[in-house]
């Protein structure tokens, strides 16, 4: 075989169709992988932004909610309510305006008493009698004085 033919054969092998196809296939595969990666990461980024936007919206609503809670608390300030009520002509009741009505049948259904941590000592008749006596003597004058 002459040198010329050997060279031609070598050149022919270097640029054969099969080799080009293999290289193109590999390059295509890499490109496909690259595109897939890009698509994936773009989608993930979009999803991430979407999540971030939602999180920001949640945060905004939370902050708004907090501010509303504070506004409500400030608007129902007991002093403010009292002043507003006074400006509307509403006044706390005076003693004479209060009528106590006793419901002697109350409670209609007796419930077992809840166990108290510190139940008051049972009332003795003596103490109640003392109080009645106190009212008979002193409290009448107190009532008169307070008027």
């Amino acid at each position: 075989m002459t040198q010329q033919r050997i060279l031609q054969r070598q050149m022919g092998r270097s640029f054969s169709f099969g080799d080009v196809r293999t290289i193109a296939l590999i390059a295509g595969l890499f490109a496909l992988l690259g595109v897939l990666y890009l698509v994936q990461s773009t989608q993930a980024t979009y999803a991430g932004r979407h999540i971030r936007d939602h999180k920001q919206e949640i945060e905004r609503l939370q902050r708004l909610n907090e501010q509303l809670e504070i506004d409500i608390a400030a608007s129902i300030n007991p002093d403010r309510i009292a002043k507003a009520a006074l400006s509307l002509g509403l006044h706390p009741p005076k003693e004479a305006q209060i009528r106590y009505k006793l419901n002697l049948k109350y409670p209609l259904v007796l419930q077992p008493a809840k166990k108290s941590v510190n139940p008051p000592a049972p009332e003795s008749n003596g103490f109640v009698d003392w109080l009645r006596g106190l009212w008979e003597t002193g409290a009448r004058t107190a009532e008169a004085t307070s008027r």
């Binding site: 003693e95 941590v117 008051p120 107190a142």
Partner: protein
């Protein structure tokens, strides 16, 4: 010249190209080896530093609310705005844009940039969410990297000075000062979290890369025993009393004697907690019901007589021959105004608030027993109420180096030792509660973020100090001493009141100043079934120095409104049903 073989020429060129490629490849490989292997770890670190982001996630401090759900303290988030001046290309434009968003003068911002050309400067502090959103939008539109937002929790007190002494205060460094804020700080604080991940050039998180989300755990919500209606009443009455008596300061405490729950607590002066940091003299706003000591004066006679009755050294029918003075080794005791009362029994001794008789009872008890009762009633030790910085007070005893002969004769009528108003009301409440000393408490429940149900604080019996019978007798004596004097200013129409006035002189430069007093009244009602114990204390009143003149009417005025607020039926109607 022979023509060169063409195949040899091609081979030569191929070899040259191959050699060049090999050299290029080798250089590339060497470079790669240098950057990836030799300097690889360093480069990785630098890359990580540039993209790594560790954002703190602040826990919100828990809310503080009253028993009827009035919000007293809450955390909100605010934003600090910073500018990295070295990276600003057009300072004039940035200053103008930020000035518009932040509503600040443009020249001020520009001057700030020029004065700190190499710094990261703060341009706005604690801005609301709306401003932060405008800044974020502006950053995105302009693609700015040199403007940064920092989120910070801030304590807000929506009701200003309402219940200020109870709530306490959180300063700019998030440190608690006084009140529930200080006492419950570990419960209220919560645990900060973090968001660790990678950020892009716009400082936005890249969520598709690995990140670690450690959420913050917010602090617990604390519900107080305070009733906002009662609180408003006593704050109004205290303010009125301070104005009318021209007192320097004062306080009112309302307690449920059966449980120890503090229903209302007011201190004057009271600061607007949202502006507390602006106050020059912050010290004057302490909660004097636990953070300051006073001599309780004649209110302490309740304790002395109760101890005497319980120990059996006196009985309800005991009478004394009062000569207006009592001279013993180490003490000379006189009645107020040097009154000589003659033959007096217990009710009259209480009504006239005779110091000599109280001293006699203390002497009859004997020193160890007198101090043993004082300690049992809680004097000399903190009450453990949930208010920060509570003082224990000091009751000197024989052998402690300060005590001297005759001191307990003075102590018998509440002079010569220190206590807090909280100790005094707790001790009086023990008499009202059948002799059981309850721990005063102001926290009703704690709701942790991680728990489904709140933890309720239970009333706690500290000890049985005196027998129930003694407590009843003492209540009768106190009620008789008030109710049988028709001109007594503590009388509340329709309700039997048990209580005692106090007028304690204030020590100035080692001497008691008779013109400077602490006027007080401690009482409870209805006497036969106490629902409310009220302590009124006015410091250095000018209109009158006497507790019976300035504190008693405040007690009556407060009690009249509180019985309506609490729905306590007048005695006559209640007794008619028994």
């Amino acid at each position: 010249m022979t023509a060169q073989d063409p195949s040899s020429q091609v081979s030569q060129r191929l070899r040259t190209v191959l050699l060049l490629i090999l050299i290029f490849g080798a250089v590339l490989a060497l470079k790669l080896f240098y950057w990836q292997i030799l300097r690889g770890p360093e480069m990785q670190e630098r890359a990580a530093d540039q993209t790594a982001s560790n954002v703190p996630v602040y826990a919100k401090r828990g809310d503080i609310v009253t028993n009827d759900n009035v919000l007293l303290a809450k955390d909100v988030f605010r934003y600090n705005v910073y500018v990295n001046v070295p990276f600003v290309k057009q300072p004039e434009k940035l200053a103008a844009d930020l000035a518009e968003i932040l509503q600040k003068p443009r020249d001020g911002l520009l001057a700030n940039f020029k004065m700190n050309p190499k710094e990261r400067v703060s341009v706005a502090y604690l801005e609301p969410l709306e401003t932060a959103q405008k800044i974020t939008k502006y950053k995105a539109e302009q693609g700015l990297l040199n403007v940064e937002l920092e989120i910070r929790p801030v304590r807000v007190y929506p009701n200003g000075s309402f219940a200020a002494a109870v709530v306490g205060y959180i300063n700019g460094n998030r440190a608690a000062s006084g009140g529930v804020e200080l006492f419950m700080t570990s419960v209220l604080s919560g645990t900060n979290g973090s968001l660790i991940g990678r950020k892009n050039a716009l400082s936005d998180f890249m969520p598709h890369l690995a990140f670690e989300d450690n959420p913050a755990i917010d602090g617990a919500k604390v519900t107080l025993t305070i009733d906002s209606g009662m609180q408003r009443i006593i704050e109004q009455e205290l303010g009125k009393a301070i104005r009318e008596s021209r007192a320097e300061s004062g306080s009112i405490i309302v307690m449920d004697p059966k449980t120890g729950a503090i229903l209302a607590l007011a201190v004057w002066p009271a600061a607007d907690l949202n502006r507390f940091f602006e106050e020059v003299n912050q010290g004057k706003y302490g909660n004097q019901t636990v953070n300051a000591l006073y001599e309780p004066g004649s209110v302490f006679k309740i304790i002395t007589y109760a101890a005497g009755l319980d120990a059996g050294v006196i009985t309800p029918s005991t009478c004394f021959q009062d000569e207006g003075k009592l001279i013993i080794p180490g003490a000379e005791v006189y009645n107020a105004n040097r009154v000589v009362a003659g033959n007096v029994c217990l009710v009259e001794a209480l009504r006239q608030s005779l110091n000599v008789e109280a001293a006699k009872v203390a002497l009859m008890l004997g020193t160890p027993r007198f101090y043993s009762y004082a300690a049992a009633f809680g004097f000399g030790s903190p009450t453990r109420v949930e208010l920060g910085g509570e003082l224990a007070g000091s009751v000197n005893r024989p052998g402690d180096g300060i005590w001297r002969d005759g001191l307990h004769a003075y102590n018998a009528f509440g002079q010569g030792f220190d206590a807090t108003p909280m100790q005094t009301i707790a001790a009086v409440a023990a008499v009202a509660n059948g002799g059981k000393l309850m721990r005063p408490y102001i926290v009703k429940s704690i709701q942790r973020a991680t728990d489904a149900e709140p933890v309720e604080v239970k009333p706690e019996v500290v000890r049985q100090v005196i027998r129930p019978e003694t407590a009843k007798i003492m209540t009768q004596l106190l009620a008789d001493s008030i109710m049988k004097e028709s001109s007594n200013l503590a009388i509340v129409s329709g309700y039997a009141v048990a209580g005692k006035t106090g007028t304690s002189q204030i020590m100035v430069a080692g001497e008691y100043d008779p013109k400077q007093t602490i006027a007080s009244f401690a009482g409870y009602l209805p006497a036969d079934d106490p629902k409310l114990v009220i302590l009124v204390k006015l410091d250095k009143p000018q209109s009158s120095i006497w507790g019976s003149h300035v504190a008693s009417p405040v007690f009556a005025s407060v009690a009249k409104q509180l019985v309506i607020q609490a729905g306590i039926v007048p005695d006559a109607i209640r007794l008619a049903n028994k």
